[in-house]
Subunit: 303 residues, 2 copies
């Protein structure tokens, strides 16, 4: 049976923009529930500036706890630069991720560097991480549309992906950061990238801003992609706009894959338990596009 | 440029189960707004028993108005039997649709006939409609999963589709009536049906119950399908379960197709105007999976 591998990014990409502070215990519980649901990989936190992202201020504490017991999970943490890498390694991280935006303007706005310099920094962090014996992932962000520059040239996305692979990244994660892609784009881009990058190193990170997350995931699957990022409950995006979805929801991806004959190893009931917990932490309703149907099925089973 | 053809079924499949009565003027206005948005086909009403479906009790009145002026639209109406056909023809219908469920139990529960008898009735109605010079569509309902019998054998769906084509149906509409399909099913079933039925006669009718409507539409597109049913605002399904989606939303389908390089001829702003009207008629929020994003874009344009 064909299968897909899912990295749940809710503890990092999901929580980072949430206004309600979530404590370290609650984050650790969320990760435990994800492991219990059958996830094998999570992105746990980010070693960014606590001033820039207060929600991630406990990165070292959370990582230290996970270094003691990560419930069998493969745990990745985001590091923006060499300083973040040093902090992550000191806290016991075994795997780190770098983020390289694919446009000049996005890098300038986000990290006050040009694209060339940002690429070099990512290469340096990857090299240093490898020297420390860590596993690595490299995001190529805004790999479809950039909010400042519009559609990003595909040849640049391919070139940056190749550079990240050459720098030793164990996984190249093509990110539709603002959720602007449609399946036609995904098909073309991922089919092209499959020619450039080893299939077992290529992943896709989707957002569901326009309600096309599952359709994009299917288009990626048809292009040969088998590694996905998603976020349980669709946590992510703006918490103040009801319906303005964040990341592709893990439960939507699992439902689509399993119903289409692809194994995920993940239990939907387990995901619902993780969503229950996240809801109590964030004090609002969560869930992807399938949530109403999944809750109804759950209620029937419990009745 | 490749293109798809959309039949908006909101006036019939969307409204038929709504508890709030919608007047004939309001239905006519909805259809006018759909035409203004660029739709070229609608399913306007159903000539069923007013006792069974009170919302469709004004079928003859609405059809008579559309027979005088349908805003350039191709208008189809559902007819359950020869009596319904006679009523539709008398009201001026130019195109009728029959519904044939693909399982024994669904036919028994819905129309108190077995599958064989239901098939013969559909064939009779199609023959009589052709004799009257009308255009025809034939739905093959529960063509994926049946709520009573589970997964429906594909060879039966193919055989019934062929019988409807042989009986003269101008369009064969493969319906995921309960929204149970996943893209893996859609790919297999529609690719097989494309071998059996002329491509320009094959359509798909999707529901979005599990949040996979757009993914299923993309899988059908990849299988070669170019004719779709959808419902503006996702109207349909149970009005009492928030988030329990009904039909695939026309705006989601248009967004997915246009962003993927397929022309629809339909304006999203025009669809939003139709949704505004439907919301005022039904006194609740409507919209597909893309609605939050589309409304945000609309607000920006108006600002």
């Amino acid at each position: 049976m064909d299968s897909i591998h899912i990295t749940d990014v809710s503890p990092r990409d999901g929580l980072q923009n949430q206004q309600v502070p979530v404590g370290t215990d609650d984050k650790y519980t969320l990760i435990r529930l994800l492991a219990r649901a059958g996830l094998r990989s999570v992105e746990a936190t980010s070693f960014v500036s606590p001033r820039a992202v207060p929600q991630m201020a406990d990165a070292a504490d959370l990582m230290a706890r996970l270094a003691r017991d990560a419930f069998g999970l493969r745990v990745s943490v985001l590091v923006p630069n060499l300083k973040g890498l040093a902090r992550a390694a000191e806290a016991g991280a075994q795997e780190v991720a770098v983020v390289l935006s694919a446009t000049e303007t996005m890098n300038q706005k986000n990290i006050n560097m040009g694209l060339d310099q940002a690429t070099e920094v990512s290469e340096q962090v990857l090299a240093e991480a490898r020297a420390l014996g860590l596993r690595t992932r490299a995001y190529v962000a805004v790999a479809f549309d950039c909010p400042f520059e519009g559609e990003v040239p595909l040849d640049r996305v391919v070139a940056l992906s190749r550079r990240m692979e050459a720098a030793g990244a164990g996984e190249i994660v093509i990110a539709d950061t603002i959720g602007a892609a449609a399946p036609g784009h995904v098909k073309l881009r991922m089919a092209t990238l499959m020619q450039a990058i080893a299939a077992d190193k290529l992943a896709i990170h989707l957002h569901d801003t326009r309600g096309l997350g599952a359709a994009n995931a299917w288009a990626a699957l048809e292009a040969g992609v088998r590694r996905y990022d998603s976020s349980v409950g669709g946590i992510g995006g703006c918490p103040f706009a009801p319906g303005a979805a964040g990341n592709l929801a893990t439960e939507d991806l699992v439902l689509m894959a399993e119903r289409s004959g692809l194994a995920t190893g993940i239990s939907v009931d387990g995901l619902l338990a993780a969503i229950d917990h996240a809801q109590s932490c964030l004090d609002r309703q969560l869930g992807g596009r399938s949530i109403a149907w999944l809750r109804k099925q759950q209620a029937r089973r419990l009745a």
